[in-house]
Symmetry: none
Subunit: 382 residues, 2 copies
Amino acid sequence: MRVCGSSPSPGPADGRDSLESVLDQIILDDCLRALARLPEASVDLIFADPPYNLQLDGELLRPNNTRVDGVHQDWDRFDDLAAYDRFTRDWLRACRRVLKPDGAIWVIGSYHNIFRVGAALQDEGFWLLNDVIWRKTNPMPNFRGRRFTNAHETLIWAAHGPRSRYTFNYDSLKAFNDDLQMRSDWLLPICSGPERLKDDTGRKAHPTQKPEGLLYRVLLGTSRPGDVVLDPFAGTGTTGAAARRLGRHFIGIERDSDYVKAARERIAAVEPLSQQDLDTLKPKRAAKRIPFGALVESGLVQPGTALYDPRATVKAQVRADGTLACAGAQGSIHKIGAHVQGRSACNGWTFWHFRDGGELRPIDVLRERLRTQLENGAEHAP
Amino acid sequence: MRVCGSSPSPGPADGRDSLESVLDQIILDDCLRALARLPEASVDLIFADPPYNLQLDGELLRPNNTRVDGVHQDWDRFDDLAAYDRFTRDWLRACRRVLKPDGAIWVIGSYHNIFRVGAALQDEGFWLLNDVIWRKTNPMPNFRGRRFTNAHETLIWAAHGPRSRYTFNYDSLKAFNDDLQMRSDWLLPICSGPERLKDDTGRKAHPTQKPEGLLYRVLLGTSRPGDVVLDPFAGTGTTGAAARRLGRHFIGIERDSDYVKAARERIAAVEPLSQQDLDTLKPKRAAKRIPFGALVESGLVQPGTALYDPRATVKAQVRADGTLACAGAQGSIHKIGAHVQGRSACNGWTFWHFRDGGELRPIDVLRERLRTQLENGAEHAP
DNA sequence: CCTACAACTGAATCGTTCC
DNA sequence: GGGAACGATTCAGTTGTAG
């Protein structure tokens, strides 16, 4: 095992690498060997772009008789489906060992391999969260006209297990997408132009380099700054580059020394974003909980204040203990909100409104005001 | 086994149905039993919409506390993945027997089951030709904000074997698609409105009825007039209806008598199409909506960039997730635009400007630039 | 008649914290 | 660990009703 910039070393006596020793490095080694040396439950997110097992024999010619430069590398050759399945299950199992219980994995593939991978993920105990379609704006056409233009690839997003509390930056993604929920189909160009790494002879350095935009969206949406992101098939380092740019740690594993060299140079050249620029939208769920009673306690809401439903057809009164009284019933803002609507549940913060001049405003704005007060106060506290 | 309009009959002595006796019929029977009675190598195309094994548990409420009417039918219950795999391999094997050597199969599914199905197809000897993505224009949202909107389903198109001379109507699909090669991602609305079959009580007759437009495209592209199309999970007969409309023969198998009744009535009412009508079935071209986040992702706007209102009195900063930060507030370009103007809504694309030399220009010009890049990005000219 | 608005709906693996 | 309370969360439609 070799790490970026260091000379070959035998590693510690227990055959394990410390996480620190490989952090933000590309490891030059076989994927299974390197994974076995990592400590278990140590990484937050995995992004894997395994060989697709394309099964291309012969060559493909364009209509003008030029040859299509397909994937013919040895690493994409497997004897049969069973061999590919064994390979898949082995690296998935090794990945799951090093993944934290609340971590998640992404795998990208095409119809040649993604069904094997998806089934193996389920068999190994991962819990599928979504399949996501990368729609290519500029796919290679089908030159022979015998099939549909293969215009997409499939990504699978899966948690360590059914009860994992995986990271999903819902609010950030929604803002990113002009205030609409992010869908499972993503439109992105393929990696070309200056972004595409070239070797010394000017040919593409790697046959299947992924666009950094794809990794940008994956990391922004399903990891947090400071997380450790592992890529067991690092190739020319797209995951590492995106991770470095977005303030995530990365560990890459790649067995081809030419790819490793290209990846290390590329990642070293990446300028990380500033902390401020990384200050993405905070999820509401992470905000500190403020009970309604605290608003009464702080004087922001006076006991006796009248609250109304959005259309001001129901009126309730605030009690000194932070409960609401309405038509004989009394309880929390949520309970009474559910009660007056005849429903089993209700978010009282958005249901109940107070009069502010002529307008009705949800009491949630008062909670927001108190939250700001508390945060500013906390900054000045010792 | 019973066929449409005929009384129950024991069938011929060899336990086989003649093809003629079941042509253009919906067979009321279990899928495996009915398949076993069909002559081998007798159908040209199979379209299968098997149970997805959704594994739904408990109930799901919309934000307004109404209940989502999920798929809780018995036919979608399996003990575990192994049971689902056995079921899948059994019906696929039975289908392959009745399929002509140059025939093909389509199977539709979601991430819950499609990886099992795809792997089983390969294991049973089918040869995958494409996976096709049905992108829904109007999917059900993710109500809890825990995952990406599940906005697509996957279809797999596979030939009987690697050397099958399958049908692919390249030219008619290309004409159908405004003279562009038909891609592997199809945009279609879900089945709703008058097309959606209702039962006597006005509720949906089947929980998962597919849009006929999807079947039009499948049959138009991968079968010929006069072909025999088999649907082993016929449900309320969408495949049969599309086949009859397009001048193909069909055989449907369905074990639920209510579904069979609805399907037979529906298909009987179908008026086969004229060529002129076929021409009106053009797919809608996808309008390319570009969210602000895509500008950041693509590098056209760098995180940290300053944006201004038209008179440069307000300044805001772009974050890595495509949100704007301004005077302590953070959100989408639209939200923050509305916020700084004290309005409830704002078109951020025209409100926010960036410095271009000495001039302020609306960010909408950057969106236009990206749109052009995406459309002209084709690396390979055909 | 039309327009406006309210209500309803779709293959869905859709919590977390505190006591 | 079990149960209750808290409280976060939706898009593109179609259908039905009111005016």
